[in-house]
């Protein structure tokens, strides 16, 4: 589903990604962990070209994002959830969810709203359709953001630290939605600090540090039996 080859990314003189190779299979849930500044968010943001790779290739669902392909077309298939939600504050929850299906997929308004209400039901916010984002709690906003991304019927979902900006008591309501999504077979790449989620939901755990994938494998294995020194050091701090 996602095929990354020899991905390099530099900001000025600073090389953030130093040659990443990564293949993510359909329906696979890949959890990416690592210290701050390790390049894990940049790696995720290269998967929908919010960051333009300096070199290397990123292919998603057969579309080469680093080639001449229409990036907007490709992004229709790649859902993104941000740390700080990035809902559109001047629109109701329903308008937030229906905007892209109507404008990008040319969906009829009625149909888009029907899908939006189903998605809101699914994330437990059916009663918030007419609310404005600033009226919602962080956890509610993030669930709306997930519904907004799902409304495009994406083939892949990218999560960039989706619970890092939340108060502790709201983390689980968001993780629960992500869990059910994973159980339904969504292909997911998740950058997170939630080790419990990584262990429980992840098919594969990636430890990134210094712009390289240091270690990867089934989460249980990596957590219980890390092979690399740097992984051990990191896990000893966060577990």
């Amino acid at each position: 589903m996602i095929d990354i080859k020899n991905l390099h990314k530099s900001f000025g003189d600073h090389e953030v990604l130093k040659g990443i190779d990564l293949h993510i299979n359909p329906q696979e849930v890949v959890v990416i962990i690592g210290p701050s500044g390790s390049g894990k968010s940049t790696l995720l943001r290269c998967m929908n070209l919010l960051e333009e790779p300096t070199s290397g290739s990123v292919v998603v669902d057969g579309i080469d994002l680093t080639g001449d392909s229409d990036i907007n077309k490709a992004r229709e298939e790649i859902g993104m959830v941000f740390q700080r939600f990035n809902l559109f504050p001047h629109m109701t929850v329903l308008q937030n969810i229906t905007l892209a299906p109507i404008k990008v997929r040319n969906m009829a308004k009625d149909e888009a709203e029907k899908i939006a209400r189903e998605l809101l039901e699914r994330v437990g916010l059916a009663d918030k359709a007419d609310a404005y984002p600033p009226q919602l709690s962080g956890g509610q906003q993030q669930r709306v953001a997930i519904a907004r991304a799902l409304a495009m019927r994406p083939k892949v979902m990218l999560f960039d630290e989706p619970t890092s900006a939340l108060d502790p008591e709201m983390v689980n309501e968001v993780l629960d939605v992500m869990k059910s999504l994973a159980n339904e077979g969504m292909t997911m790449a998740v950058v997170t600090h939630e080790m419990g989620f990584a262990r429980e939901v992840g098919d594969r755990l990636l430890f990134v540090d210094g712009g390289n994938i240091i270690e990867q494998g089934p989460p249980k294995e990596v957590f219980e039996n890390p092979k690399e020194e740097r992984t051990k050091l990191f896990l000893s701090k966060v577990l």
Partner: protein
Amino acid sequence: MDMNLNVDLMINSLPLLIAGAGITIQITAISVGLGLIIGMFVGIARISNVKLLRWLAAIYIDFLRGTPLLVQIFLIYFALPVLLGQRVDPFIAAITACGINSGAYIAEIFRAGIQAIDEGQMEAGRSLGMTWVQTMRYIIVPQAFKNIVPPLGNEFIALLKDSSLVSVIGFEELTRRGQLIIARTYGSLEIWITVAIIYLIMTLTISRLVAYLEKRLDTK
């Protein structure tokens, strides 16, 4: 020194002056409307990804903010006809000069208003598959409008005052009306005081209106 004000002259000149004030408001409103359209496109061009557009927008803004409005009025009313071989109507010249001038200031207002919007909004729009233009249109610009109401109100007030400059091309707005009445009555003191008060009433009213509008937008 004769400090007696001829109050009758002030009262008698009111209908003519108020009609002139109406024309002042009219050219200001049309010019700001024109400036708003120009300013929106130039402001967006100023921060677009296309180098040529950014460059053209910068030239436009620099030229119009770097030369006096009075000179711009002369350029359009006196210099342009030399090129066109045809007289320009004072009203057209007035709104064109004021509109193009105000477009440059409003472009900067727009640019600042857009740049104040969190980057995550553009990223969210683009991530949903929307184009840059779609994201600007549906997400960024509507939010920027809210940010720019106060500075736009200030621009309206500034232009309302600056529009007195078009009196030099004989266009009969408030200031020109004052001059014409004085030419007839020699009542400099009375008429300029009256004219100043009318301008003051207009600018104060507009600033109150803007403050009210700002408050209403804020609570939504």
